[in-house]
Subunit: 242 residues, 2 copies
C-alpha cells in the first residue's frame, strides 16, 4: 500500500467517533511517520522510559501490561487495528506500563512532538483523540468491574464478547488463525485468573454451547447466549454516539 493511504486509515479511525473538517484532514496528512513491523512479544513501550513517539496500529494486536513485585503479570488493555498505542505518551514524562505485540503487528510511529503540535493547532483533532482516549478509560473501568466483581466464567465470557465486538466494529475480519490470538496464559493475565482455570472455564463454556474451540481458535457460537451469560452490555464502548 502506498504511504498516503495510511493517513486515510488514521482519518477514518478518528472519524468513526468524531467529526473532522477538511482542514483537519490536511493537518493530519502533514504528519510524517515511519511504518514498521513488530514481532510477537516485542516491546513497543517500556515502563519507566521517556516516550518520544506514539504508535498507531494498522494490523495485528498489541497489549499493555504491568508486573507486580511478585512477578505476576496483569494485562491492562488490548489494542486492535485502528487504535493508538499510548496516546498518553506525548503528555507524560515516563511510561507507566509496558506495551508488547500480541501478534505480529504493523504499526506507524508518530513523533510525540508532532502530535502535540497537531493537537494544539487543530481543536477538532484534539477532541477526536481525546474522545478515543476517553473510550479507552471507559474500557478500563469495565475491566475493573469485570475483574473485581464477576466470577471466572462471566469474566472470560465478557472478554470474549468485548474483543469480538470491538473487532467487528473496527471492521477487522476474523481469520481462522487469529480469532482470539491469545494463549490461555495471556487470557488469564487479562482477566486475573490462572491459565489452568482459564482452560477449565473455556471447556465449560464450550460444553454449554456458547463457544466452539479448535486448537487456539475460539469462536462464539451463541452470541446472545454468551452476552447474557457474561453480563455484557456494550454501552461502555460508546459505539453509537458521535
Amino acid at each position: 500500500m502506498p504511504i498516503p493511504s495510511i493517513h486515510d486509515v488514521i482519518i477514518a479511525s478518528l472519524s468513526r467517533h468524531s467529526v473532522l473538517d477538511p482542514d483537519d484532514h490536511v493537518a493530519i496528512r502533514r504528519l510524517i511517520f515511519t511504518q514498521r513491523q513488530v514481532e510477537p512479544s516485542a516491546y513497543l513501550v517500556r515502563e519507566g522510559e521517556k516516550p518520544v513517539r506514539c504508535s498507531f496500529i494498522l494490523g495485528g494486536f498489541t497489549y499493555a501490561q504491568r508486573l507486580t513485585s511478585t512477578g505476576a503479570r496483569q494485562i491492562v488493555s488490548l489494542q486492535i487495528p485502528g487504535d493508538f498505542v499510548d496516546l498518553q505518551n506525548p503528555w507524560f514524562e515516563e511510561a507507566d506500563h509496558n506495551v508488547q505485540a500480541l501478534t505480529r503487528a504493523q504499526v506507524v510511529d508518530i513523533d510525540a512532538g508532532a502530535l502535540r503540535t497537531l493537537v494544539a493547532d487543530r481543536p477538532a483533532v484534539a477532541a477526536a483523540l481525546w474522545r478515543m482516549s476517553l473510550i479507552g478509560s471507559s474500557i478500563l473501568r469495565e475491566w475493573i468491574v469485570n475483574i473485581g466483581r464477576r466470577d471466572a466464567h462471566t469474566r472470560v465470557g465478557h472478554l470474549l464478547c468485548e474483543f469480538s465486538l470491538r473487532r467487528e466494529v473496527a471492521g477487522i475480519p476474523s481469520t481462522r488463525a487469529d480469532h482470539l490470538p491469545m494463549t490461555q496464559e495471556q487470557l488469564g493475565d487479562t482477566v486475573g485468573l490462572t491459565p489452568v482455570h482459564v482452560n477449565r472455564v473455556l471447556k465449560a463454556l464450550a460444553q454449554r454451547g456458547l463457544i466452539e474451540r479448535d486448537r487456539r481458535q475460539i469462536r462464539i457460537v451463541d452470541w446472545a447466549g454468551l452476552r447474557d451469560a457474561s453480563d455484557f452490555n456494550p454501552r461502555y464502548l460508546h459505539l453509537t454516539s458521535r
Copy 2:
C-alpha cells in the same frame, strides 16, 4: 469564600500538572458555574443519562461506581478535592457509570458546552485537562493490576497508600473525622473483596504494626512498611512530571 477564589482553586489544580499562561487564566476566569453541596450517597451522575455538566470538587470526596447484573457493586474511582468528576462528560452522549458523594461534598458545576468551548479556544487548558484525565486512566490501570493480581492484604494496603498520597499531594489535611472516609463495605467494593474479609485484613495490618485504627479512622503508622508490603510504587500517579 467569595466566588472568585473558586476560579483560583481550579487554576491551581490544573497548574499542579501543567503550565498555563495569563490568557489561559483569563479564559478560565470567564467560566460561569454554580456551587452546591451534596450529601453522602447523593448521585452526581447516573449511568445512562446524558451528562450536561462536569463537576469540580472543592471539598469532600466522591466515587464512581457500577453494578453488575447480579447486584454486586464495584467502585471504579475515587475523587478528592481538586479533581474533576467525569471530565469525559462533555464528550460523551451518555454516562457509563454512576458517581456518588462519599462524604458531604462541596462541588461546582461547569456547563459541558462551556467546557468544550474553553478547550477549543485554549489548547493549553485542553492539554492540562487531558493530562488530568490521563492520570485518571493511569490510576485505573493500576487498580486493574491491584485487583487482578494482588492478594487481599496487598490490595487493601495499596489502596490506603494511594489514597493517603493523593490526599497529601493535593494538600488536603486529614482530620480525625475523615482520614479514610469509607465504610469497610465501600472499601471492599473498591478493591473487590467482601466487607467481612476487609475487616480481617485491616485487623491483620494493624497487628503487623502498619496501621492504627480507632473507630472508622485508619492511620498509617509505618509508611515505608506499608508501602513495601503493598507493592506501592507511586510512578503511576505521575506526580513529579509537569
